[in-house]
């Protein structure tokens, strides 16, 4: 082997090592985040025990940690409602776009929905604030869900389109040759064939919406004194609670924020793993 070749080889090894090193550096923050969340949040959770998920948040001067029940309830409900709003719309458009790709309607709605993903979510929040909150006179769970549904719409759309596109051409033709029209084929064949994809898509959109802060910032309100006030009344959400408490100067709020963060991470990981295992089962 000539010297030149040896040099090339060493250079390559060196660069590979460097790349692996940089890659490891890039993912270390995750472990740091987990470590801090478990050590700080874990302490809060141990201190508060089960009441952390059933109690009301503390006041700045209280000595007990209290709980984050309003935020948990608000988060689950608002996200559920957002999914209920956005998934049917996304599904309808995805169906039209996959089945009739060349009509003006599907082309324009494709462009429209894609540009949605370029809109910063804080702008969505401002928009919903002035379009819904001001008109209703109060921040509410409903307004929060509307903002969330606008943000999740493009995600749900992308997943549902790829779900419908995953239906093999042979199955499509078989359905057509039985004399079904497209709606019937969708109802009896496509949905069944791609159900795991669709479920995963819905779940992934749910996860997305669950952790999103900015759309809720001006819309959902900050409910502290009861767990659930009603659909048209202010509510609270887990990410909002963490955000507001992290910005506040009180030590007790920081404690609660870390506890809430640990819970948020756990919920996120569980949903993530479930959607992962759902997707793994997909075989066509």
């Amino acid at each position: 082997m000539s010297r030149r070749q040896a040099l090339r080889k060493y250079k390559s090894y060196l660069m590979q090592l460097l790349m692996i090193f940089i890659s490891i550096t890039a993912v270390t923050p995750l472990f740091s985040i987990f470590y801090t969340a478990v050590s700080r949040g874990g302490r809060t959770l141990l201190e508060a025990g089960l009441s952390f998920i059933t109690d009301l948040p503390p006041t700045p001067l209280s000595t007990r940690v209290g709980g984050i029940a309003p935020a948990l309830v608000g988060s689950f409900l608002a996200t559920l409602l957002a999914i209920v709003i956005s998934v049917p719309v996304a599904f309808f458009i995805a169906f039209l776009v996959t089945e009739f790709p060349n009509t003006i309607f599907s082309k324009s709605s494709e462009v429209f929905i894609r540009s949605f993903s370029g809109i910063p979510s804080i702008i969505v929040s401002m928009f919903v604030y002035s379009a819904v909150v001001i008109r209703m006179g109060t921040q509410s769970l409903l307004a929060g869900s509307i903002a969330l549904s606008i943000v999740t719409l493009p995600y749900a759309y992308v997943y549902l389109t790829s779900a419908l596109r995953s239906v093999p051409e042979t199955i499509r033709e078989a359905a057509m040759s039985l004399g079904m029209n497209r709606l019937k084929a969708l109802r009896y064949v496509y949905v069944g064939v791609s159900r795991r994809y669709i479920l995963t898509g819905i779940l992934v959109s749910y996860v997305r919406a669950f952790g999103d802060t900015a759309p809720l910032l001006f819309t959902i309100g900050f409910l502290m004194n009861s767990v659930f006030a009603g659909l048209l009344q202010p509510s609270n959400a887990l990410p909002i609670l963490i955000f507001v408490y992290a910005l506040s100067p009180y030590e007790i709020f920081h404690k609660v924020a870390w506890g809430a963060t640990l819970l948020l991470i756990i919920i996120y990981l569980v949903l993530f793993l479930v959607s992962r295992s759902l997707l793994r089962g997909v075989k066509l």
Binding site: S12, I22, I33, G118, S130, A214
Partner: protein, 282 residues
């Protein structure tokens, strides 16, 4: 929606005009005549923070992509990929909280203070790091949070490169590093497109920035100083802006500007991406 935002921001646009972009005053007053607002600092802050974040993201995501696709063996690769996926979906507020309580003090003590002590004559290092909440912290956390997103895009693009190129490169006896250089050259337009998309996301990112940038209405180019970005300004001033006649329209004007910049960046990014895709599949 953008029409709506324009409508909401009209009073401020009419009243302040170009002044909006040339001054950094934020003076709410009970008397509408005395109110004066300028968006220069947050606009500069926004661009500064997100461009810096994207520049940090670039080497991280490119190396991550190549490590995942070429260097590592199957099991390790799947492991690293799952980690990147988990990072990509992690709620941004978690990054923000971590950045403000863990990373900011660390950066202040071990990076910013030494740099200020020894290299303080360079303008971007020339201000004393006080709280750790700074442009540097915000861009770093933002970069960490957007690396998984860019990496996912790049892996997708990498898998789109037809096998014939890879086979050709290997047939010529290239080492791994040379393979990387050649394939990177092929992937370059796609990389730029992905970075533009990431920039568009970084511009609109609220939670991370509001928690780490320090939220001060100050025009600065020093890395260790706190400033505002448009989203952080909106997030922190929205509650009080309701009370004043022109504050809310000004925030909406900022939002409009943000919307235009970020839609523009993502439009160019998506277009570049499609161009590359149709070029690579000849």
């Amino acid at each position: 929606m953008s029409l709506f935002i324009t409508y909401q921001s009209a009073p401020s646009l009419i009243r302040f005009g170009v002044d909006l972009l040339s001054s950094t005053v934020w003076r709410p007053a009970d008397d509408p005549e005395l109110e004066k607002y300028g968006l220069l600092a947050p606009v500069v802050g926004s661009l500064y923070v997100s461009v810096l974040a994207t520049l940090i993201t670039f080497p991280l995501s490119v190396t991550l992509t190549f490590t995942i696709t070429e260097i590592l063996h199957k099991r390790l690769r799947d492991f690293l990929r799952s980690i990147v996926e988990i990072m990509g979906g992690l709620p941004t507020v978690v990054y923000g909280l971590w950045g403000s309580t863990v990373l900011a003090p660390y950066l202040r003590d071990f990076i910013m203070q030494p740099l200020y002590d020894h290299l303080g004559f360079i303008p971007i290092f020339s201000c004393k790091p006080v709280s750790g909440y700074s442009i540097l912290t915000a861009s770093l956390v933002l970069a960490i949070a957007s690396t998984p997103y860019v990496t996912a895009l790049l892996i997708e693009g990498y898998n789109m490169i037809p096998a014939k190129y890879k086979e050709g490169i290997i047939c010529l006896g290239a080492t791994k590093y040379e393979t990387f250089k050649l394939l990177y050259g092929l992937l370059k337009p796609y990389v730029i497109a992905s970075l533009l998309l990431s920039l568009s996301r970084a511009l609109g990112e609220t939670t991370i920035v509001a928690l780490t940038v320090g939220n001060a209405m100050k025009l600065t180019l020093c890395l260790f100083d706190s400033t505002h970005t448009i989203p952080s300004l909106i997030a922190s001033q929205f509650e009080s802006a309701r009370l004043y006649t022109y504050a809310m329209p000004t925030l909406f004007a900022g939002g409009l500007l943000l919307l235009l910049i970020s839609l523009g960046a993502s439009y160019v990014g998506i277009k570049k991406m499609y161009d590359w895709r149709s070029k690579i599949h000849v």
